[in-house]
Amino acid sequence: MAAGGPASELIMFIVAILVAGSVAGALAYVTNDIAHGINDRGAMLADRLRTDFAIINDPNHIPVDTGTSPPTYTFYIKNVGKEIIPFTSDAVQVFIDGNLVPASQLSFEDTGGNTITSLQPYQVGVIKVQYDLTSGHTYTITVVLENGVKRSLVFTAP
């Protein structure tokens, strides 16, 4: 009994340290996760605030190529923000009057006609949209980026 006292004290001490260590470890894990989340959310919000673009077409003169079926309309996108804009069919969605234009009917190019994947600040990119529109009718094109920033242009189909 005299020897059991210190041994049980030691066992209790070890158990207490293990329990406290486990709690501290779990706290550290959860805290790290939350800290990463805060950083990610902050970076995402900052990215959204620094992203801006404009559809710079003349709404009464949209270039159209009637040699394709359906016709191909050309829209010019200017990056007026501070961030590089991902410029692919995976990252950018195009709606015409609320209807999503399938990625297969979109192409993303620079002003020289070469396929590009991103838009540098102040660069102008071209989105070519193959879509059936009625000449003389007014439509709204909405371009949505991967971070949710969107711009719309009301235009008359040529």
Binding site: A28, I38, R41, A54, I56, N57, H61, Y122
Partner: protein, 178 residues
Amino acid sequence: MGFSVSASAAIIFISFLMVAGTLYTAWDNAYANVQAAQEYWYEMRLSQLNTLSSLDAENSSVSTGTDSGGNQYYNLTLAIQSNGVTLYVPHWSGTYDGKLVTLNNVDDDNVGFLSDYGYLLPGNSIQLNVTYIPLNENEHSIKITFDNGCWLLINWYYNTTEKVVYVNTSRGCPMEVS
């Protein structure tokens, strides 16, 4: 028993301190990042709200000519004036009759600045040449988009009877429509 309690309490207390330190550092980083981005956003919106551009009619001009094939044309010089914030001209973009044009070179697409411009200060104007426009009464348009996304749209046609150019301008800035 007492030592076990105080040791484990110390571990928990230290871990709480570390939690607070980690969370504060993360919050501080995120806050600084968002704050900087927010300042940029405010600057951009203020720039757009204070962008005011117009056509300076006094410094605009028109001239006519005949090319080697005998076709008559007219050249138009449009003076674009800033009545608002300072604008950085090399970052401007333009469309002429709907098609994208390079503004720094007149030879490739008949549209270009009169010289190499840098900043356009408030009250000043810059001159943009549009050349070899067929001499008829067809309407033409140029849309200039500035570095902050605001634009100036200029429509005109040549009145062959009165031999003058009638110009109409409109302007705006990109705003989200939802």
